[in-house]
Point group: C2
Chain length 403, copies 2
């Protein structure tokens, strides 16, 4: 049973009622607040652990009122994989990857969309729309299909092909837009009233963040409520980082963390699209705006995020940093993870490897610290980045000298 | 603790010792046998259920001696998804999809390779090789990477691009061969002695089948040990079907099934590559041999499988059938599952939808039966089959009339 209390505006702190449809307030995102005393009275971490695995076990700290409205494709707990070989290569003892590629559709977007579509169903929505530059469109299309809702997706015309095709095959009406993601978002906002769409854009609805929050809840449980020293997270729209930081705050307030320590949150971008890095370094509240930035990590190609100030706030509160990795290293960092650990790291998370290497060198992260890096999607979905030539032979021609 | 007893030849029933490296005996596959009394004395289904989810919880009925040799990427239990909308479209009440796309690397091949590579590690192997026409090569490469073994992969030159790239990026030395999968297999067998490779080809080593068997163990547990009426399974090499049938036999012998009923196993192929279908219909022991068959379902493009007689035996014992679906329907059956249920059905499993429709029409499956269909991989890995054109627009040009 949810212990939701109300929604709170990040613009001015004003309170909005739960159980009603909301997008933003005064142009800023809404955060869901809970009655944490009621949570504490209703459940214990041990009881959570006894329920079926995955994000829905945390139902007291999630917004859905009636579990019959769950729209689910089976969101199992994602594995937290110890990566000693990769750690050794980077010069760190205690490196872990939380592999979100194992969620439905092969990306972490499933958590947010499972929650947002479930809430949309509960609140009577029958048609949803979103801009996307990566995995979000396919994830929304999949959950909308599962819910029997109609779905509209607008994507820049250089969106990875697998993301295009999955949206279409899940039955979403989909367009390639000659423009960037914020222009796709503008189409959704302009036509939303007439079309009766509910706008599912990042942080323009309050529940994707609650789904993403479960990355933090799950990680806490997997670490026996003793959180790691550092989290490295690729940052586009930032929902995941904001969500995890919110989760750790809620767990702390509940008194369920074993120690006061919370992770230093490292927001990782590519140096060709890093609006948060100068903002962090110069003490700005918002990310700097970029003109048409390029990166092969499609999911972090976000020139201006609505929730940038929430990401920067979380990073600073945590004692972490916003850092950028060199764009030209992305494919080779993917290879490192795939070759040394068998983990199919996506290009966005490859940027976290670059940041980790740099942060170790610059002393922002210590070699003995426990570091968790999030793999937000399956490498296999990035066919353009994976592309390579294989040697071709006739069956009779292979010789040991070729090995 | 494993309760392995010995290995048994499918050629002549002779017994081989466990704890030693084996490939085949008299050219035929080996099956792992257990001391089922010892299993019964060691564990109960309830105890299995209390362990962490996924294939490794069944350790008594798996061959690994020392759990420290597990080579794992976090093989969580795959969801069993009720699919009422798809069922309604096909005219069946109780349809379920077991979604194996949620395993590491996005395919069911993970189960077999996790087990086979763990056993190879336990038995001292440091170099592995395989032919592949689909997901097996990438899965082997991933687990070999995780284990720190060297890996060699040979694939026909029309293998799906994602399968090529993932093998390479996982560090496997990989070649495109101008030929079919059996010619790739011949390269492995010819050079295996000199190269010191362990041959991981389908059914040429005894443990992939034990990994695949866990599909059956997991399904039994998810159904509270009351098995469904029908299982539909796409059949290339056949390891999964043989493995599940073996699992059900072991559970029956243990006395752990709630009723005597075992599922009728439907082996599903495409009508352009269906060696088992005429064999089944004509009462032959082996599949018919095909010349260079084509199908867009790469994983079931297997003209001649080493274990075909074991598949046919299981299908017949179960009261099921070998049936073929029309090749030209494959993409539209994928769409059905993606659009109606949000499940990313692969082309191989799309053939199961075609077989289900046909079997319902011909009366081989009843509309009231409980039917479980296996999705053996993620649709997203089949970029060639998914490919489609999306409408392109300028940002200002979208109009409600386009919806």
């Amino acid at each position: 049973m949810t212990c939701i209390s109300h929604l709170e505006s990040t613009a001015d702190g004003s309170t909005l009622a739960a159980g009603e449809l909301h997008n933003v307030h005064a142009g800023k995102p809404l955060l869901v607040r809970y009655d944490l005393d009621a949570v504490r009275a209703s459940v214990t971490p041990r009881q959570w652990a006894e329920r079926p695995g995955g994000m829905w076990r945390y139902e007291e700290l999630l917004p859905l009122r009636d579990q019959a409205n769950r729209v689910s494709l089976g969101e199992a707990e994602t594995p937290l994989l110890h990566c000693p070989r990769l750690g050794e290569r980077l010069g760190i003892d205690d490196l872990w990857i939380k592999d979100e590629s194992r969620l439905p559709g092969g990306s972490f977007k499933a958590r947010g969309m499972a929650m947002a579509v479930s809430m949309a169903k509960e609140l009577g929505v029958s048609s949803v729309a979103t801009p996307t530059a990566g995995n979000a469109g396919g994830a929304l299309a999949a959950y909308a299909a599962r819910a029997g809702m109609s779905c509209y997706v607008f994507m820049p015309d250089d969106t990875p092909v697998v993301n295009r095709y999955e949206a279409v095959m899940h039955g979403a009406k989909s367009w390639l837009v000659d423009g960037l993601i914020h222009q796709c978002g503008a189409i959704v906002r302009e036509h939303q009233p007439a079309m009766g769409w509910f706008d599912m854009s990042t942080l323009r609805e309050p529940y994707r963040i609650e789904g993403k929050k479960t990355m933090g809840l799950e990680l806490a449980e997997q670490c026996s409520y003793e959180l790691p020293d550092v989290i490295l997270y690729p940052t586009g729209g930032g929902t995941g980082l904001i969500g995890m930081w919110k989760a750790f705050g809620e767990l702390a307030e509940l008194g369920w963390l074993k120690s006061e320590k919370r992770p230093r949150m490292f927001s990782c971008q590519s140096d060709t699209c890093a609006p948060l890095v100068p903002a962090f370094e110069q003490g700005l509240e918002h990310g700097v705006e970029l003109e048409n930035p390029e990166t092969k990590a499609a999911g972090i190609r976000v020139p201006k995020a609505l929730g940038d100030f929430l990401v920067l706030r979380a990073v600073r509160e945590s004692g972490g940093r916003a850092m950028a990795a060199a764009e030209e290293g992305i494919r080779s960092w993917m290879e490192l993870a795939l070759e040394l650990e068998g983990v199919p790291l996506c290009p966005e998370s490859a940027a976290c490897i670059g940041v980790l290497a740099k942060a170790l060198k610059e002393g922002h992260i210590g070699a003995k610290e426990k570091v968790v890096l999030f793999n937000t999607g399956a490498a296999q979905k990035y066919v353009e980045v994976m592309a390579c030539e294989l040697p071709r032979i006739k069956p009779a021609d292979w010789q040991p000298g070729m090995a």
